[in-house]
């Protein structure tokens, strides 16, 4: 009984917190304590969202395509790099510091360079997404490969398994959980990367839309697109969670005690 109550409280509390924030916000801008042109009320934001709904969907499509392409290539690159680093100790030692350094460079700093080099098309966007999204994948996979049980690897060796067989039967499945932790981060990075790249130039995309509404001081639309972006990211992260459950059937019902 107490446990049940606890779980209800756990579920309700974040909803309550969000409701309170929205209520305070509505109160502040609705009553004019904060001028409306500076901070539109939540109701205004929702209105703006539905008014521009078709336009937003059109831009979202561009951004999602970029994010999808960039993320796919990022995963591919991350996978290749991780496999090479796991296979060759020297590659691990050589590449690891370089990887860390790439992550200390702020996205917004390299984005303008990419636009200068690659133009206003889809290329600079995809490049930026690859750069930001491959890192969590690589690290996730590497940790996963390293987490493989050495005794299990020895057992397969004793069975006469080739290196490839050991990789497929043990290392790869051992890394799935870590891979998905990385993917969850990469998915949100890919959306952010796309938007940042679009700010600096482009013909459509949520970042382009954002720049336009900012220039026309439409704060309600500005907020609408910001929320829209975080909702997209949240939905994608949820999608990753569902995908993980689907490909890891052995994890099901583990928490509740198997027997």
């Amino acid at each position: 009984m107490i446990k049940k109550l606890q779980s209800i409280i756990n579920k309700v509390s974040p909803i309550l917190a969000i409701t309170i924030i929205l209520a305070v916000w509505q109160l502040l801008s609705g009553t004019g304590i904060v001028p409306k042109f500076m901070l539109p009320s939540p109701a205004d934001v929702v209105k703006a969202f539905f008014k521009d709904f078709n336009l937003l969907m059109h831009h979202a499509k561009t951004t999602l395509v970029e994010a999808f392409l960039g993320l796919s290539l990022g995963i591919l690159l991350g996978f290749i790099v991780a496999v090479i680093m796991d296979r060759f100790e020297i590659a691990y030692k050589a590449i690891y510091p370089v990887l860390i350094i790439t992550q200390t460079i702020p996205t917004v700093a390299i984005a303008p360079l990419l636009v200068l080099w690659l133009g206003y098309g889809i290329l600079p966007k995809i490049s930026l997404i690859i750069i930001t999204s491959f890192f969590p994948i690589t690290i996730g996979l590497l940790d996963g490969f390293k987490s493989a049980d050495p005794d299990a690897l020895n057992l397969l060796k004793a069975m006469g398994a080739t290196r490839m067989q050991r990789f497929v039967h043990i290392k790869l499945p051992s890394s799935i959980s870590n891979f998905f932790s990385g993917l969850r981060i990469s998915v949100s990075y890919s959306i952010i990367g796309a938007v940042v790249a679009e700010w600096l130039g482009g013909f459509s995309g949520l970042g382009v839309y954002m720049t336009r509404v900012r220039k026309s001081y439409s704060f309600d639309k500005m907020f609408a697109v910001i929320f829209f972006i975080s909702i997209i990211s949240l939905l994608l992260m949820m999608g990753v969670g569902l995908l993980q459950k689907a490909v890891m059937p052995w994890e099901r019902g583990k928490a509740g005690g198997g027997e």
Partner: protein, 247 residues
């Protein structure tokens, strides 16, 4: 005829002798035990026989062929059951067949034939964490058998089980062995287990690991539960304890 022989095996690591001049043999259908204190180099010897480790000197032969340093010839079951958590029991058990080149579906068909015999019926589609310790051990043993039906090396196969499960597993193990006649070399530091299961016992002493003595358990098989509390059993035990004290 000798199924498996290891002749004059020595291994040193970082200049320290781990095992020195060990020679053992295993006959067809025999269950032979390596009994000794921890750190006597029993696992090292198994690593040599399984081909994971190359000895400094000595030779391992299976059916007369030299298999020194060659993995994949004799099957090896390590201390933990080592069932892969992300594979179902049927896939875990058929893994050695897949490694050996069979297609997944074929391997499953071959493996599924043994589930009844090993008391594993109904567990095919389950994951290891859904099984009890004893059942997991049975699955691990079936996997070991499918890996090679010639010779199996078992490294403390029942040490992780509680006493009651262990006793049940011994009974089960002896009855399965009656049927499959797998030549087995196993490690234990449980004296009762060694006497109950083995045809012969090699007593090992450590630093460096050596075979101190060989004891033959003449009690015919299948052995009943009463054997454990019989006078012959106690005599074997006294003999073994005496040797261990002397070392």
């Amino acid at each position: 005829m000798d199924k498996l022989t290891a002749n004059h095996i020595s291994v040193s690591y970082d200049g320290v002798k781990i095992i020195e001049d060990i020679s053992i043999e295993l006959h067809n259908g025999e269950i032979v035990c390596l009994l000794g204190v921890s750190g006597a180099g029993k696992t090292t010897l198994f690593n040599v026989i399984s081909g994971l480790l190359k000895p400094d000197t000595g030779k391992v032969e299976l059916d007369g062929a030299d298999i020194t340093g060659k993995a994949g010839k004799v099957s090896y079951m390590l201390q933990k059951d080592l069932l892969l958590p992300f594979k179902t029991i049927i896939d875990n058990v058929s893994l050695p067949l897949i490694i050996g080149g069979l297609k997944k579906a074929e391997a499953r068909t071959v493996a599924s034939k043994y589930f009844e015999e090993f008391g594993l019926a109904g567990t095919e589609k389950k994951y290891p964490h859904q099984l009890s310790g004893g059942m997991r051990q049975r699955a691990a043993l079936l996997r070991t058998y499918l890996f090679s039906d010639k010779v199996a090396l078992l490294d403390e196969p029942f040490s992780a089980l509680d006493t009651i499960t262990k006793s049940n597993m011994h009974e089960w193990y002896l009855s399965v062995m009656e049927q499959i006649k797998l030549s087995t070399l196993f490690i234990t530091h449980d004296i009762d287990e060694a006497i109950l299961l083995s045809d012969r016992i090699y007593m090992m002493t450590g630093k460096p690991g050596k075979i101190k003595e060989e004891i033959r358990i003449t009690e015919p098989k299948p052995r009943s539960k009463e054997f454990v509390v019989s006078e012959e059993f106690m005599n074997y035990k006294k003999q073994i304890l005496k040797i261990l004290e002397g070392s």
